[in-house]
């Protein structure tokens, strides 16, 4: 089999597993319906009777309306996306150790590297799929709540939400590597919690812009959909970080020693 044929076979195998995995669909529901629901609740809290809650909600969602809805969604996705996509990335690789199927994936005409590459392709495309579900659901929620028509400004906000969702998915790829190093998905879950904490600490320390795990969150905190030249560079740093995580994942997967 050529490398391309191996990758095609591995993609078929991994997609079969992926689409039948419960953690995948639970995280998808959380990231689409959960995020939309929480965003709507945040907007509702602005006009609520609890002044403390209203102040907090206003800090996230500002004036409300479309801008408030997407600001809330972006803030939630920038953290929740890391958690949700991180769990799925960790699950995808870690389950092979937990379910003891890693030996069965070895010594096959479809190489282990092809299997890992197929997993990474799916983990990269998956956030795009989630974004493609989340954005229409947010738009529908806005229309149902009477926020007005969908114009170019609203579509720009929707685009920003989609980009933040995809970036969160890419930032979760190190969890795949952690799952291999820790030989199970618990290590990946620990890693994603550590990443979220580190991102918060970097923001508090004032270095968040140059810490890729914090950047989508900082962009989310801005009400407008625009992005300046500095932040563009900062956001683009996510790409080499994700690529590095993918390379390390492939390398560790290929070099696995399964003597015990």
């Amino acid at each position: 089999m050529s490398p391309w044929e191996q990758l095609r076979a591995a993609l078929a195998v991994e997609w079969l597993k992926f689409r039948n995995s419960r953690p995948v669909w639970v995280s998808c529901i959380f990231l689409v319906l959960g995020v939309t629901g929480m965003s709507v609740l945040t907007l509702g809290a602005i006009a609520g009777s609890n002044p403390l809650l209203a102040a907090k909600a206003q800090a996230i969602a500002g004036p409300g309306g479309w801008a408030g809805l997407f600001a809330a969604a972006n803030t939630i996705v920038s953290v929740g996306g890391l958690l949700g996509f991180g769990v799925v990335a960790g699950w995808s690789f870690g389950r092979e150790f937990t379910d003891r199927t890693i030996a069965g994936l070895s010594a096959r005409p479809v190489s282990r590297v092809a299997v890992a590459a197929a997993k990474l392709v799916i983990l990269t495309v998956w956030p795009v799929f989630v974004a493609a579900l989340l954005v229409p659901v947010l738009l529908a929620a806005g229309v149902l709540l009477g926020m007005g028509g969908i114009n170019a400004v609203v579509l720009a906000m929707a685009g920003k939400a989609a980009v933040i969702t995809v970036l969160s998915g890419l930032l979760a790829l190190p969890c795949a590597w952690a799952a291999i190093l820790g030989r199970g998905y618990l290590a990946a879950i620990g890693t994603i919690i550590a990443i979220v904490l580190a991102a918060q600490m970097a923001v508090m320390a004032g270095a968040g812009g140059w810490f890729p795990f914090s950047t989508p969150g900082l962009w989310a905190a801005r009400m407008d959909a625009g992005v300046g030249p500095v932040m563009t560079v900062q956001l683009l740093l996510v790409l080499p970080l994700a690529a590095l995580a993918a390379v390390l994942t492939l390398r560790s997967w290929q070099r696995l020693d399964l003597s015990r």
């Binding site: 199927t101 010594a107 479809v110 020693d257 003597s259 015990r260």
Partner: protein
């Protein structure tokens, strides 16, 4: 793959350590085409570790391992289409049905999609799994999960089979079924089989050669046609332990 009676698997002076503890020492062994070579030993004797070395899942610290003349650690993936294996645990994803698991194994064995479906149906029939074809693997009994793992190993008609305790958890009917399938693959198709087992009576019915492993070393052989294999086995193991 080599024709029958040529060594398909060869181990020459193989040794391996876990840290400072030797787990395999000076292993010299071959598996011939058209023959079944059984490996018997107590728990922890090193049988599974040796099988993992043969499958390139880990490397030897001393000596050399080869499959059809190639180092399994560096062998290009395409050559593994000649090898089927069941080591450690069955390749069975709990959320997938029996048929989905077999299709998955067939794709990993290099079958295109249509052939994978046909091969899956054939193996489900051969291992008497057809009635559970639509059942998720998590709902299978351990015996049927083992049958599923064996079906996954046999898919693609490999010319070399490496099976670690394949009859574990099988009922007597399952044991007979596996024996019949393996003997057919060997006698009619010239496959080479390297199998480990705790069941000496089963091994006697199946194997052409039996090697005894103890403490990470090959300490002797058993004649499959001899009577009272159990006694011979324990005599060999006891004598080895006394020597140590």
């Amino acid at each position: 793959m080599n024709p029958a009676a040529d060594p398909v698997v060869q181990c020459i002076n193989v040794g391996k350590h876990f840290g400072s503890i030797p787990v395999l020492e000076d292993i010299n062994l071959d598996v011939l085409g058209g023959k079944i070579h059984a490996l018997v030993g107590l728990n922890g004797a090193g049988k599974t570790t040796l099988m993992r070395l043969l499958l390139g899942m880990s490397g030897a610290d001393q000596g050399s391992v080869s499959i059809d003349g190639r180092d399994p650690r560096t062998m290009p993936a395409r050559h593994w289409s000649n090898t089927g294996h069941l080591v450690d645990a069955p390749l069975a994803y709990p959320e997938l049905t029996v048929m989905q698991n077999l299709q998955l194994a067939a794709r990993l064995a290099g079958h295109p999609r249509r052939e994978a479906n046909a091969a899956s149906r054939e193996l489900a029939g051969a291992l008497a799994l057809t009635q559970w074809a639509a059942t998720p693997a998590r709902r299978l009994s351990s015996g049927n999960r083992q049958r599923l793992g064996l079906a996954a190993a046999l898919i693609g008609r490999p010319r070399l089979l490496i099976l670690d305790e394949p009859t574990t958890a099988l009922d007597p009917a399952g044991v007979m079924l596996v024996r019949k399938l393996l003997l057919h693959r060997v006698r009619a198709e010239g496959a080479a089989v390297f199998v480990s087992s705790h069941h000496l009576d089963e091994v006697a019915r199946l194997a052409d050669r039996i090697s005894i492993m103890n403490g990470g070393r090959l300490i002797g052989t058993l004649d499959p046609s001899a009577t009272d294999l159990e006694r011979q086995f324990f005599n060999a193991v006891y004598a080895d332990q006394v020597r140590q």
